[in-house]
């Protein structure tokens, strides 16, 4: 794997300079709310998910004027949004945390926040077991649902909401968050959780490579892979290069680049292929052209991904903490 930070200083400087005219940063700046957070679109209420993506994008641009202050306010918003059990809710006033906890931990770890909020969040994640793999559920699935979907239910990842089922993207986000923190920050159960979650991802891969939300086969019919879940699963498995599932999924991604129809998929595919050191036929200009078409419907997470895709990412997914640490 070629780490993202191996690009030359000159190359970084060129990319940062070109970003000076970037509409992505302009939209991210415009969308930050008074409370420090970001909504999904400019003028919308602050939410945890878009705040995390905006922070992760702005962290790569800290040298720019005012960015540090924006980052600080964004981190404050995240800290203030954390629930007492350590999790984060998807929407204001929600009293139950969910999958965005992984994103919040990832963003706070990347921002080097020392408040302990991320550690508390990671402990919540490790205690949050999905319900679909409980012995009773597995019994029911074995005898009554065996024709619907053939999963190996002994593997367990993370769900979108607590006490439901494991799905690909929340599992990938939890793995990425855990890969970004010092080993002593994780509870003892983390190693087992990560092991089970990685095997869940392999098990849920669609025939031929790639992932969809987590249904590789329903009623015997193969599911179709999608770009976004494939990228997140691959990034979660980025230290598993050479494994057949990872190679098949990279090949699927490369084969399907021509079918990409959105800024989100363009940006994420570019990030993924760069992270794996593959040749990247998606150019920065392609992402900008896609933005010019409809401004990504002013979607903040998509804009943040585009900013990340068009910028050097020296501090992004650069460190992988060993799983057994």
């Amino acid at each position: 794997m070629i780490p993202a930070d191996s690009a030359s200083d000159q190359s970084n400087a060129t990319r940062e300079l070109s970003l000076a005219e970037s509409p992505f940063l302009h939209l991210l700046e415009r969308a930050q709310n008074e409370d420090g957070g970001w909504g999904f679109q400019p003028g919308r209420s602050s939410r945890v998910e878009p705040t995390c993506w905006a922070l992760l994008a702005l962290l790569q641009l800290q040298a720019r004027e005012n960015v540090k202050e924006r980052l600080s306010r964004g981190v404050q918003f995240l800290r203030a949004s954390q629930l007492s059990d350590g999790s984060w809710p998807a929407a204001p006033a929600q009293e139950t945390g969910c999958w965005v906890t992984s994103l919040a931990c990832w963003a706070l770890l990347a921002a080097k926040d020392s408040s302990g909020a991320a550690e508390k969040g990671l402990h919540w994640l490790c205690d949050d077991w999905p319900k679909d793999s409980s012995p009773w559920r597995r019994f029911i699935a074995h005898f009554f649902h065996k024709d619907i979907a053939r999963h190996n239910d002994s593997y367990r990842g993370w769900g979108w909401t607590p006490r439901t089922a494991s799905w690909v993207e929340p599992t990938a986000f939890a793995l990425i968050a855990m890969s970004q923190c010092p080993p002593d920050m994780l509870p003892r159960s983390a190693s087992r959780r990560r092991h089970l979650a990685k095997f869940l991802l392999y098990d849920r891969m669609c025939p031929g490579g790639g992932w969809n939300c987590g249904n590789p086969r329903t009623y015997g019919v193969a599911g179709e892979s999608l770009i976004i879940p494939t990228v997140w699963a691959l990034l979660a498995l980025r230290n598993q290069q050479g494994r057949s599932e990872v190679e098949a999924s990279l090949a699927w991604l490369e084969k399907n680049l021509l079918n990409i129809r959105s800024g989100a998929s363009l940006a994420l595919a570019r990030i993924c292929l760069e992270t794996f050191g593959r040749s990247v036929p998606i150019h920065e200009q392609d992402v900008r052209t896609s933005f010019d078409k409809n401004e990504f419907l002013e979607n903040v997470p998509v804009t943040a991904w585009a900013s990340l895709a068009c910028n050097a990412r020296p501090h992004w997914l650069a460190v992988e903490v060993p799983e057994t640490a």
Binding site: A90, W99, T161, T164, E169, T218, I228, R261, S265, L297
Partner: protein
């Protein structure tokens, strides 16, 4: 106005519902005139109001068999504007794929609706408001729903005519799953499955209260729908002022028994009319457009003898 605080009207207190069936062989025909003329018969209260069309966008669909066809959406939008609506928005929150832009591109919405970015609302990422569920059909006590859905004056469910491998059929009531925001509940909106699909459908429809339904049945899907099924030409548009009655009529067109669809049976006691005697049929007769749909073996009991 869809208002979650409005108490539910038991079906026996509703006046008879009206459902129109229009024959239409393909998407290239003049759908605008057909829909406008049909809407005129219903005279919906939309003058000066904001209308939200809620199509069924499931995923990338180059063959046009999975999602509500943009020609039908554009024609409906045109019809409501001609009836005097001040604004007609289009909104959906695709359930299986968060890449809404990719879905819009794959259905080619921009060819049919000018500046779709100005009229389309991605309900998955809209601002949300907590709505207590008064029906409590499922074990859910509340749902966070998009403020756009709760704030418009007239909500129109615009599904595709399809079978569904969990619910039997997916029509205007099941289509309302798409108003539940993925940003809160994920892709798919799995919490609804855990709460029971059939019961969740009742809770969502009781909370969001769609005012009207327009079903794209020109090309439907049978078998293992709503994504992996087989395209099925049916050649109809079905419209009505009671989504339950519209869905019941669609079932009869598909040669399925609406009372055997669990959530429709429940909806018939809570939300609208299921019995044919309570539905005034306009346009074509059911018999003249009847097109039996294949279902998975789990749903054989739905089929008419």
């Amino acid at each position: 106005m869809p208002d979650a605080s409005k108490s539910l009207i038991p079906s026996f207190q509703r006046p008879p519902s009206r459902v129109a069936i229009r024959r239409n062989a393909n998407y290239g025909q003049d759908l605008s005139s057909l829909l406008y003329e049909t809407l005129l018969e219903f005279d919906p209260p939309v003058r000066g109001k904001t209308v939200l069309l809620k199509p069924n966008f499931v995923g990338p669909d180059p063959l046009g068999v999975m999602n509500t066809h943009p020609a039908v959406i554009a024609a409906a939008r045109d019809g409501f504007l001609r009836l005097g609506a001040s604004q007609v928005l289009i909104g959906d929150g695709p359930a299986m794929d968060r890449d809404t832009e990719a879905i819009l591109e794959s259905v080619n919405l921009r060819e049919y609706v000018r500046t779709p970015s100005r009229v389309f609302v991605d309900l998955n990422v809209d601002d949300v408001k907590c709505v207590p569920l008064k029906t409590r059909a499922s074990r859910l006590k509340e749902l966070y729903l998009p403020k756009t859905v709760l704030g418009v004056d007239f909500l129109v469910s615009m599904p595709k005519l399809k079978t569904h491998h969990w619910a039997g059929v997916t029509l205007s009531l099941k289509n309302m799953f798409g108003v539940v925001p993925g940003s809160c509940y994920g892709w798919p909106k799995n919490v609804l499955h855990w709460a029971g699909i059939d019961r969740s459908i009742l809770d969502i429809n009781a909370a969001a209260r769609p005012d009207f339904a327009i079903v794209d049945g020109i090309m439907g899907m049978e078998g293992n729908g709503p994504i992996q099924g087989t395209p099925k030409e049916c050649g109809v548009l079905v419209l009505g002022d009671d989504p339950v009655a519209v869905d019941a009529t669609c079932c009869r067109i598909m040669a399925l028994r609406p009372h055997k669809v669990k959530y429709l049976a429940g909806a018939g006691t809570l939300l609208g009319h299921l019995n044919a005697a309570k539905i005034k049929q306009l346009g074509e007769s059911i018999e003249s457009v009847r097109t039996p749909f294949a279902v998975l073996k789990e749903f054989k009991a739905l089929q008419e003898n």
